[in-house]
């Protein structure tokens, strides 16, 4: 080996190829997200620049894009619809999924824990159209009977359905957040004589706060973006809700219901893409906020909790 050895053997090439492939995989996310944003912006641009009326879009509940003589594009009722359904969904799913996460993460052991984790993940595997079907054919008559209201396709129905749909992802992320709290915290609290519940409630939950907020925000993002189930269970009615028993219409459901039969390039088509841009920006902001919270949480442990472990293993 007088010359510098040529190390470009098979393993080297595989290593190089894999690096490039993995890099492409990582970058593709950026490419896709930028591509999608460019696409919906391009399709919606005509409306945004020519026809867009800020006051009408955000403050008028009149969504009548196919009117013969006076098409209006007020999205207020749609925004209120999405917000009310998502809000109710959070009321349903936050206690449910936090409870599940605390039980799985802090109390359950062994088999019970593993079974529960699998079951919660299975809940996430139910297709949204099946949820919508449950809303349409089971919850609708049930709500009419129980509450004696005229129709059961309303905020309550879709909120419950959406809450159940968002619960699995929120449970999984909340449980991860609890798991990320260093055991040293729990041990220290137990050494001071705290009960299991005191440890959980006074020490673990506050320490995991950021992760739990992130879990909730991701649930909100899920609620904002969900389409099929909301389309089927909400009643799909342009309406400013004043009670949980009012039918509403969501932004996503409007796009899903109308885009398929709208002439490409028409005002209506572009207005639907404008709704898409709005949805994209809102969900993007929510996910970004969730990410910031998760990072905030991690940094905290690194600073305080994990230092002994880190120094023990330099």
């Amino acid at each position: 080996m007088t010359h510098a050895a040529d190390r470009r053997d098979l393993a080297w090439w595989i290593d190089r190829t894999m690096q490039v492939l993995v890099l492409a995989g990582g970058l593709s996310a950026i490419v896709f997200i930028a591509g999608i944003f460019l696409f919906i912006t391009r399709e919606g641009a005509g409306f945004v620049f020519d026809r867009f009326d800020f006051r009408e879009f955000f403050f008028s509940p009149r969504w009548t894009p196919t009117s013969n003589h006076n098409p209006t594009y007020g999205a207020l009722a749609l925004i209120a619809g999405t917000a009310s359904v998502t809000g109710l969904a959070m009321v349903v799913s936050v206690p449910f999924s936090l409870g599940a996460a605390i039980y799985i993460g802090e109390f359950a052991t062994g088999r019970v824990r593993e079974t529960l984790k699998v079951l919660v993940e299975l809940l996430a595997a139910i297709p949204s159209v099946v949820w919508g079907f449950i809303g349409l054919s089971i919850m609708n008559p049930l709500i009419i009977q129980v509450f004696d209201v005229p129709v059961g396709l309303n905020v309550l129905n879709s909120g419950i359905i959406l809450g159940l749909m968002a619960a699995p992802i929120m449970t999984t992320i909340a449980e991860d957040a609890l798991k990320a709290v260093p055991d040293g915290y729990r041990e220290a609290a137990e050494a001071m004589g705290a009960t299991r519940w005191q440890v959980t409630f006074k020490v673990v939950l506050p320490a995991a706060r950021n992760g739990l907020v992130a879990a909730t925000l991701l649930g909100v993002g899920r609620g904002f973006g969900e389409t099929m189930a909301v389309l089927m269970a909400s009643g799909h009615s342009v309406n400013l809700p004043t009670s949980p028993f009012d039918s509403v219409r969501a932004l996503t459901a409007t796009i899903a219901a109308e885009l398929g039969e709208t002439a490409a390039g028409s005002d209506h088509y572009q207005a639907l893409f404008t709704l898409g841009i709005f949805l994209f920006i809102v969900t993007f902001a929510i996910n970004l906020a969730a990410d910031v919270f998760v990072r905030g949480g991690r940094r905290k442990y690194r600073r305080r909790g994990r230092r002994p472990a880190a120094s023990a293993n330099p």
Partner: protein
């Protein structure tokens, strides 16, 4: 059809001139064929005692500025609907059924009143009405089931009240019946020509009849 993805397309409303222009701009020239007629039935829950409804009542119920909101205004009391509120079931705003109903019942210049439950399919309308005592909806006659009731429809206060059926759609006495179209991209040729010929043949038209639609002309199906 406008985007040029398909060779043949079904539609329950005429293409607008502007849409034909758009299609021509993309290099296809849509040719129209009437393949049958469809009566739009008004559906209510089977427990609903409503036997007849006038076009004017429907217009005040569905139209913008209309003042019919309660079943008592139509002179009935609906069992299982203690709130008396009429739950209006409609279709999404670009379906052919929606557009035709607007034309035939509300008139050219009037819009639908917002706040109806806008279903995504003809069958969904019937499904919802079936499960909702307070509801009223409109949908193609072919979607009728044993679990819904179809009141007869009359024009004006003293007009004859006509029940929706294939026969009344054929003879034109039912007031809300519409033509159903197929559009081909350019003059149909080859397999598409054969398919259309079959649809328009006695055999095809008899299937149209059996499914609850009205054929385009006299056919003898037995």
């Amino acid at each position: 059809m406008i985007n040029g993805t398909v060779d043949i397309a079904n539609s329950s409303r005429k293409m607008k001139d502007s849409e034909i222009e758009l299609a021509r701009g993309n290099g296809n020239d849509p040719i129209e064929f009437v393949v049958g007629f469809d009566a739009l039935a008004v559906y209510v829950h089977p427990d609903n005692p409503l036997d007849q409804v006038s076009l004017e009542q429907l217009a005040e119920l569905y139209g913008e500025g209309g003042d019919v909101d309660a079943w008592s205004q139509l002179g009935v009391e609906v069992p299982g609907c203690s709130s008396d509120e009429i739950v209006r079931v409609s279709r999404q705003n670009n379906s052919g059924t929606y557009v035709y109903f607007r034309e035939a019942v509300l008139g050219e210049r009037r819009d639908f009143r917002l706040g109806s439950r806008d279903m995504h399919g003809s069958k969904d309308v019937v499904d919802l009405v079936e499960n909702t005592p307070c509801a009223i909806g409109y949908s193609g006659l072919a979607y009728a089931t044993d679990h819904v009731k179809m009141p007869c429809v009359r024009k004006g206060e003293d007009g004859d009240c006509v029940s929706p059926s294939v026969e009344t759609a054929i003879d034109g006495s039912y007031p809300i019946a519409r033509p159903l179209f197929m559009y081909t991209a350019g003059e149909p040729q080859g397999a598409i020509r054969e398919y259309l010929d079959w649809v328009l043949s006695d055999e095809g038209q008899c299937i149209v009849y059996e499914k609850g639609y009205a054929p385009r002309g006299d056919v003898n199906c037995s």
